[in-house]
Amino acid sequence: MFRNQYDTDVTTWSPAGRLHQVEYAMEGVKQGSAAVGLKCKTHVVLASVNKASSELSSYQKKLFKIDENIGVAMAGIIADGRVLCKFMRSECIYHQFVFEAPLPVSRLVVQVADKAQVCTQRSWKRPYGVGLLVAGLDEAGPHLYYNCPSGNYYEYYAFAIGSRSQAAKTYLERRFETFKDCSRDELIRHALLAVKESLQDEELKSTNCGIAVVGADEDFHILDGETLQSFIDTLEDNKAEAKEAAPEDPASTSGGGEAGPSAGAAEEPPAEATPMDM
């Protein structure tokens, strides 16, 4: 998108009916390092690419716990995201105090979205430059939402944001219908493989990615380095097994087939397009 005379203020419409400052904020999200989210019937998994700006520095934290049942992954201006996290946490604490029940995820994302919208309609403000993938569990089941700088929010089966997220999205688009019946561990493997697509040539290690899980019987938490590395190692094992099995019998199921990207597509029988009734 090129500069034009209607893009200086967030309160100025373009003749085409667009708010360019808001769109530029959404561009900012695309510049951040990738974040991925996916859900099954029982769990929601978030994954992030942890990119350090230089060899000397550490990476920015992008996975945050909001409450026992809710967490976020963010892409874009992480400082903006951190501030939104503080807001989300205090809303959850307030709701728990007043109603003695956890804040449903759908309510929380609306509150965040309303907050973001304010910044699109005040001349002295700027839109938040961060996209939030909100993962949570409430009475209605598992949820994955995307909160946009525009003030919109969307519910997803699976989604990816940030730079090179299209590669991860393509991976998810091909397989999302199989996710709802996945187990927790399979879902984590899918998340890692989706993140791997965003990393492209870089090797997937526990130092350049992060995974967080939330489930009905599992509070939101970020996996520690060891657990993460063991999941990454099983990806390697499955890939190796898939390679061995392939020359003998391409149609046979090689251990935990969904994980190997080459074996995966061929094995799964075409899933019926049932509505995601969770």
Binding site: K65, D67, R89, I93, Y94, Q96, F97, E100
Partner: protein, 226 residues
């Protein structure tokens, strides 16, 4: 009009729902216990109400007094605990929680929480600690304490049986009990049984919580229901 007395309000914002709380600190454990009876006057409101509240893996609070204030105080501390965890990335230690409880109580110095609290748990070194409070936040770390209706009956027994230095000595010395967990548990059970005999506000059931390095272990036993 002549009058030699002040007119008193007929309505009070407070009620006393009774109950007794006990906490005992050992070298590497802490026991917090309270009965489960909730009373109002000479009536029993319920036999199965918990006065214990887990604030974190290393801190459990027991409170007796006015139930509504107790509950609000618990909710308040729980919310502050969550905020602390988000801000600092780790749960509050028991000594930190002790200070917070004191400040929270004093905050309402001129309309107090009618809540008599004992806080028990493990300190940052893993040793048992007990903190005892009055309604407006005056507190002290000690080896053992009781609050509530049966406090006057139970405290002398603990002074006698726990084999620790008297908390009344000056300069203060270590008063955590040298007894084992099992021995201290037996004393807790016996003292509650005795208090139940002589006290109308104590009885129905006894909830005991033991905090040690393995976590929090709960126990419940019946007390006399008369």
């Amino acid at each position: 009009m002549a009058h030699g007395f002040k007119e008193h309000a007929t309505w009070s914002p407070y009620e006393n729902n009774g109950g007794t709380c006990v906490a005992i600190a050992g070298s590497d454990y802490c026991i917090v216990a309270a009965d489960t009876r909730l009373s109002l006057g000479y009536s029993i409101l319920t036999r199965g109400h918990s006065k214990l509240f887990k604030l974190s893996d290393t801190a459990v609070m027991a409170s007796s007094g006015f139930q509504a204030d107790v509950r609000t105080l618990q909710k308040n501390l729980e919310a502050r605990q969550k905020g602390y965890y988000h801000q600092h990335g780790k749960p509050m230690s028991c000594p930190a929680m002790a200070q917070l409880l004191s400040n929270t109580l004093y905050y309402k110095r001129f309309f107090p929480y009618y809540s008599f609290n004992v806080l028990g748990g493990l300190d940052t070194e893993g040793k048992g600690c007990v903190y005892t409070y009055d309604a407006v936040g005056s507190y002290e770390r000690t080896g053992y304490s009781t609050q509530g209706s049966g406090a006057e009956l139970i405290m002398p027994i603990l002074d006698n049986q726990l084999k620790s230095a008297s908390p009344l000595l000056y300069p203060p010395r270590e008063t955590a009990t040298p007894l084992t967990e099992q021995e201290a548990l037996e004393i807790v059970k016996d003292t509650f049984a005795s208090a139940t005999e002589r006290q109308i506000y104590t009885g129905d059931g006894l909830e005991i919580v033991v905090i040690n390095k393995d976590g929090i272990h709960k126990e419940y036993l019946d007390l006399k229901k008369d």
